[in-house]
């Protein structure tokens, strides 16, 4: 302390120099608070006017969309696909399926009626609905309806007619077995479709319907095929009638010639 007192002049000078050199306290600068506030207010205003208005408009538009979707949903739920109607339709399909089962029983009733051995053998094959049994038709047919006469027992024209008629009859019998088998297959297919339809959804029911339509087209085609067979056999029957007339004309001609020959002698 004594040294400090003795050196007080330099110390004071030093202090003065330090005081002069140290930066003066920063004077308060001029702040335009109004501009800052205005800028902040502008942001707020922009948020409110632009973003707020936009979001409100979006919210309103989404509300409208929501209402529309609810209306459409309600329309589909209550008018187009009401659950009650769908359940009832499922029930109706079930009832119809039960009726189909009855029909299946009816069409498979045994209608065999022959009493003698040969007719029974042929009839059992004809009513078998088994295409694998078609090969047995020929033998049993010939046993019952007799073979084509031999060359010495009938003229060629008659033998041709008989053979053609037998062929058509046999073919028709065979076709009838195939048609019965096809009908069984259609019955199976329709049972399958009915089962599928009973558990279908409203959206898949038209798919089952489409497949049913396809099966119906096939069924119609098979029916046409069966009808064609019926027409064939009727055509042969008609041809036989015509052939009878022709044979009679031939016989008359032969008789006339024979009589003429007889008188010539």
């Amino acid at each position: 302390m004594n040294w400090l007192w003795q050196q007080r002049s330099p110390v004071i000078a030093l202090l003065l120099v330090v005081v002069l050199l140290v930066p003066q306290p920063a004077r308060g600068q001029f702040v335009d608070w109004a501009a800052v506030v205005a800028a902040i207010e502008a942001i707020g205003s922009a948020i409110n006017n632009v973003i707020g208005t936009g979001l409100r408009a979006i919210n309103s538009a989404l509300g409208t969309a929501n209402n529309l979707l609810n209306t459409i949903h309600s329309f589909f739920l209550n008018e187009v696909y009401p659950e009650q109607a769908i359940t009832r339709a499922h029930g109706a399909v079930g009832v119809v399926q039960g009726i189909y089962n009855t029909i299946r029983g009816l069409v498979n009733l045994n209608v065999a009626s022959a009493t003698l051995a040969n007719p029974r053998q042929l009839e059992s094959v004809l009513l078998s609905r088994n295409p694998a049994a078609i090969g047995q038709v020929g033998g049993r047919f010939t046993t019952l309806y007799q073979p084509v006469p031999t060359e010495k027992d009938a003229p060629p024209a008659v033998r041709d007619l008989i053979d053609m008629t037998d062929a058509t009859s046999q073919a028709a019998f065979k076709k009838a077995i195939a048609i019965d088998a096809a009908a069984d297959q259609l019955m199976n297919a329709s049972d399958q479709l009915a089962g599928e339809l009973a558990q279908a959804a409203p959206g898949t029911a038209p798919m089952i319907e489409a497949q049913s339509a396809a099966m119906l087209v096939k069924a119609n085609a098979l029916t046409q095929s069966a009808m064609a067979e019926l027409f064939r056999i009727r055509a042969i029957d008609m041809a036989n009638t015509g052939a009878g007339l022709k044979f009679n004309a031939g016989y008359a001609s032969d008789t006339r010639r024979n009589v003429q020959d007889m008188f010539k002698k």
């Binding site: 936009g54 979006i58 329709s190 319907e209």
Partner: protein
């Protein structure tokens, strides 16, 4: 006591060395007080305002633009939804036409059901004698539990197959197969009549449901109807198969008569030759 302490403090401060120390301390304290604290760096206000302006611009131009675009898109979606709703409600499934379709089903039921049922059941029986009347009744009663009665009435009307002593085996076989084909077809037709009744019942079930159907449940009924049609075709094929069998048997029968004629011819030739040999 306090005055004693005060006087002691004054005495102490009067000590020269103490006085110097106090003076130096005061000078330093004054210097420290006079010296300003370092000026803190201050943010530029113009920069703040510029930034705020930029934010406002961003909000106005970018966010505002995007919100306008979103609003426009949602507006378009609403337009589509409105048209969609109008399409379904006014064009595809107009409630008026849905109700009209249901009403049409009701109207068709009233118009046709009874009439068609009556037409199906028109009595066409025409036999006058006992046996034919019995057969006619049995073959037209639409039942399937009386096939034996059909066979019995058939034999009563058309007589049984001749005894072996009364006809050649070929003729007996022919008569039996002819009877069998005819009888089988009469039975098949009875079954078919019963199937027709079942089909009509199925159609009525579908039709009844049609009076309460919704557009979404109609496909089930259409499907059921379509399946019934397949079934009906199958039954139709059975009928045609039976008709084919019958026609084939008839043609085969006629053919057998020709064969028998050939046989008779051969037999006659043999007999004549034998006669002349004798």
């Amino acid at each position: 006591m306090i005055s004693l302490l005060w006087s002691s403090l004054l005495a102490f401060l009067m000590v020269p060395s103490v006085r110097r120390a106090v003076a130096v301390t005061v000078v330093i304290a004054l210097a420290v007080m006079v010296v300003a604290p370092p000026a803190r760096a201050q943010i530029g206000i113009p920069a703040v305002i510029a930034a705020a302006t930029a934010v406002v611009k961003l909000i106005n131009n970018v966010i505002g633009g995007l919100l306008n675009a979103i609003q426009g898109t949602i507006g378009s979606i609403n337009g589509v939804l409105t048209r969609f709703q109008s399409l379904w409600q006014d064009v595809v499934y107009p409630l008026r036409l849905v109700n009209q379709a249901r009403a049409m089903v009701n109207s068709m039921i009233a118009q046709y059901r009874g009439l068609l049922t009556a037409l199906l059941r028109v009595n066409v029986s025409s036999a006058t004698l006992a046996n034919p009347a019995a057969l006619e009744n049995a073959m037209r009663n639409r039942g399937t539990a009386d096939f034996a009665a059909v066979a019995g009435a058939y034999v009563q009307t058309y007589r049984p197959v001749p005894q072996p002593t009364d006809a050649h085996p070929i003729e007996r076989d022919l008569a039996d197969i002819d009877d069998a084909m005819a009888l089988a077809n009469l039975k098949t037709v009875k079954a078919s009549d019963a199937v027709v009744d079942q089909m009509m019942t199925a159609a009525n079930v579908i039709e009844d449901e049609g009076t309460r159907m919704a557009p979404g449940s109609a496909a089930f009924l259409a499907g059921a109807g379509m399946i019934a049609s397949v079934k009906s075709q199958a039954v139709m094929q059975r009928m045609i198969a039976a008709a084919i069998r019958q026609e084939a048997a008839r043609v085969a029968h006629d053919n057998t008569v020709r064969k028998r004629n050939a046989m008779f011819g051969a037999q006659f030739r043999t007999d004549v030759q034998t006669m002349f040999k004798k």
